[in-house]
C-alpha cells in the first residue's frame, strides 16, 4: 500500500513535470518556427480568400449545392 501511494505520487510529479517540460519546449520551437517562417517565407496577404472560394465550388456538386442554398434561403428568409 505504502508502495502504491508512493508510486502514484511519483507518477504525478514526473508526469506533470514532463508534460510541462514537453509543452514548454513545444512553445519555444513553435515560436521559433513562426519567427523563421514570417521572416524568410512571408505570405502574400490577398490570396487566401480567392482560394477558399474555388475548392468549395468544385467539391460540392450542383445538386447538393442547390439543396444547401435553397435551405439557406429558406432559413434566412423566414
Amino acid at each position: 500500500m505504502e508502495n502504491l501511494l508512493s508510486e502514484g505520487l511519483e507518477l504525478m510529479v514526473f508526469g506533470m513535470g514532463f508534460v510541462f517540460v514537453f509543452l514548454t519546449l513545444l512553445i519555444f520551437t513553435t515560436a521559433g518556427m513562426s519567427k523563421v517562417v514570417s521572416k524568410y517565407f512571408p505570405e502574400a496577404p490577398a490570396k487566401p480568400k480567392a482560394k477558399k472560394a474555388a475548392p468549395a465550388a468544385a467539391t460540392a456538386s450542383n445538386d447538393e449545392l442547390i439543396a444547401v442554398m435553397t435551405a439557406a434561403v429558406h432559413k434566412y428568409r423566414s
Binding site: L5, E7, L23, I27, T30, V37
Partner: protein, 433 residues
C-alpha cells in the same frame, strides 16, 4: 413439445439475470441521454446500443468462444478446456480465471478446444478485437480528429500551451486519489487501473480508450462511458468552478484579436510536434503520430481527398465499430461492480481539478503579463473536450462582457489540452504498463 421447452429455456425471459436487466436499463439510459439530452451522441448511441446487445441473455455477443463454451458448461467441453489450459479443476470459474491468465500457447489451445466443440466468438467480441484490442480504432479516430483540428489559434498564441499543460493536473491528481482510496481500503485499484481512471480527466475520448485498452481493458466500459458522459456535461461541470475561481473584473478582460497564421506555419507545426515526440517520448508516438499525420493531411493542401476521407467516411466507420466495441464491455459481469462507482466519482473529480488548474494557471499567466491581457476563463478550455470547453469559456465571458468574444482565444488551450493529455498518456504508458 420438447422443442417448445427448448425454445423457452433458451429464451431471454427464462435466462435473464438481474445484472443483465440493470445493464439493459443502463443502455437505455445512455440512449436517452444521447438522443434527448444530446450527450456526445456520436459515441453514446453506439455505446448504449452495444451495451444492450452485450446483455442479451444467452446470445453471448460480447463473449469469446471460450467464454461462451464455459457459459454452457457442458462437462466434456469443460474437460477439454481444462486440459488445454493445463489446470486440474473443471470448475467454470477456475477455467475462466486460467483463461485470462493463460500464456499465448495455452490461450490458443483453449480457443481450439472451444471451436472444436462448436462455440464461436460473439459478434461484439470480434468487433472489439479488431477495433480496440488491436489499438487501431482510437488511433484512426485520432487521425480524423487531427484532420479536423485547426492549430491556427494555438500558433497565434503558443503560450496557451501552458494552459493545456496545467489542466492535465486533473489526470495525475485523480491517479493519486485512486491509489489513496485504495490505501485507506475504500477501493481496490492497482497502479495501472489508477492511471487509466486518471486519464478520464484528460477529457479526450480516444486517448482514454487507447490508454485503458493498454493498461486496464477490463475497465474500458466504465471509463469510456465516464469520459464521454462528463465531456457532454462540461457545460454543467465547468461554469461553477470557473465562476468561483475568477473575479468579475477578470472575467471582463477583453483579449486582443489573434494574428493571422500562415499556411507554412500550419504545415510545419504537426511535423515539429512529431519530431519533438520522437525525441522525447516515443511512447506517445502512436497517438500523437496519427494526430499529426491527420493534421498534416489537412494543412498540406495536396491530399485533400485523403483528408476528406479521414474526416468523414473513415472516422464514421471507425466510430460505429468503436462505439459498439466499447458497448461490449458493458456486459453485467464486467460493469456492475463497486469499481465502476469509484470510477464515476473519480472521473468527475478529475474533470473538476483539471478545470480548476487550467483557470488558476490562466490567472497566474494574466498576473505575470500585467493583469489585463489574458482572460482566465480561457484556462478551463485546457481540459480539451473540443470544442465544448472553448464554447463554455466564450459563454461565461459573454455573461460578464457582452462585447467579449473568447471563442478563438479559448481554442488555443482547447487543442493544447489534446496534446497535453496525449503526452500525459505517453508518460503513463511508459511508467506503469
Amino acid at each position: 413439445m420438447e422443442k417448445l421447452t427448448q425454445l423457452f429455456t433458451a429464451s431471454g425471459i427464462y435466462n435473464i439475470t438481474g445484472g443483465q436487466f440493470i445493464m439493459i436499463l443502463v443502455g437505455l439510459l445512455l440512449l436517452f441521454l444521447a438522443i434527448r439530452k444530446n450527450f456526445e451522441p456520436l459515441l453514446l448511441v453506439p455505446i448504449g446500443f452495444g451495451g444492450i446487445m452485450a446483455n442479451i441473455p444467452e446470445a453471448g455477443l460480447a463473449y469469446s468462444a471460450v467464454e461462451n463454451a464455459v457459459h454452457f458448461a457442458v462437462p466434456d467441453v469443460l474437460n477439454a478446456l481444462a486440459g488445454a489450459l493445463n489446470i486440474a479443476s473443471t470448475d467454470p470459474h477456475d477455467i475462466i480465471h486460467a483463461y485470462h491468465g493463460a500464456s499465448a500457447a495455452e490461450h490458443t489451445a483453449a480457443v481450439y478446444a472451444a471451436q472444436d466443440s462448436g462455440y464461436n466468438n460473439g459478434m461484439l467480441y470480434n468487433f472489439y478485437t479488431v477495433a480496440i484490442a488491436s489499438g487501431a480504432a482510437p488511433l484512426l479516430i485520432f487521425m480524423g480528429v487531427g484532420a479536423m483540428t485547426d492549430f491556427g489559434p494555438l500558433l497565434a498564441n503558443p503560450k496557451t500551451l501552458f494552459l493545456g499543460a496545467a489542466a492535465q493536473f486533473g489526470i495525475f491528481a485523480t491517479v493519486l486519489g485512486a491509489v489513496g482510496l485504495t490505501a485507506v481500503g475504500v477501493m481496490d485499484f492497482n497502479i495501472q487501473e489508477a492511471a487509466a481512471i486518471g486519464i478520464i480527466g484528460g477529457a479526450d475520448g480516444p486517448t482514454a480508450i487507447y490508454v485503458t485498452s493498454l493498461l486496464a481493458p477490463h475497465l474500458l466500459g466504465a471509463i469510456a462511458v465516464a469520459a464521454y458522459s462528463y465531456m457532454a456535461l462540461v457545460p454543467l461541470i465547468q461554469p461553477p468552478i470557473m465562476r468561483a475561481l475568477t473575479t468579475e473584473a477578470e472575467r471582463k478582460i477583453a483579449m486582443h484579436q489573434l494574428r493571422h497564421v500562415g499556411k507554412i506555419e500550419k504545415i510545419l507545426f504537426p511535423i515539429l510536434l512529431l519530431i519533438l515526440v520522437a525525441l522525447l517520448l516515443p511512447d506517445a508516438a502512436p497517438l500523437l503520430g496519427m494526430f499529426c499525420f491527420g493534421n498534416l493531411m489537412r494543412e498540406c493542401g495536396v491530399v485533400d481527398r485523403l483528408s476528406d476521407t479521414a474526416q468523414n467516411a473513415l472516422i464514421n466507420i471507425v466510430t460505429i465499430f468503436l462505439g459498439l466495441s466499447v458497448g461490449s464491455k458493458l456486459s453485467a459481469d464486467k460493469f456492475l461492480d463497486l469499481q465502476t462507482l469509484g470510477i464515476l466519482c473519480l472521473g468527475i473529480v478529475a474533470f473538476g481539478i483539471g478545470t480548476a488548474c487550467g483557470v488558476i494557471m490562466a490567472k497566474i499567466m494574466n498576473k505575470m503579463a500585467g493583469g489585463n491581457s489574458i482572460n482566465p476563463l480561457i484556462g478551463s478550455a485546457g481540459v480539451s473536450a473540443v470544442p465544448m470547453a472553448a464554447r463554455v469559456s466564450n459563454k461565461i465571458g459573454l455573461e460578464s462582457n457582452p462585447q467579449n468574444f473568447l471563442l478563438m482565444h479559448a481554442m488555443g488551450p482547447n487543442v493544447a489540452g489534446v496534446i497535453g493529455s496525449a503526452v500525459a498518456a505517453g508518460v503513463m504508458i511508459k511508467f506503469v504498463s
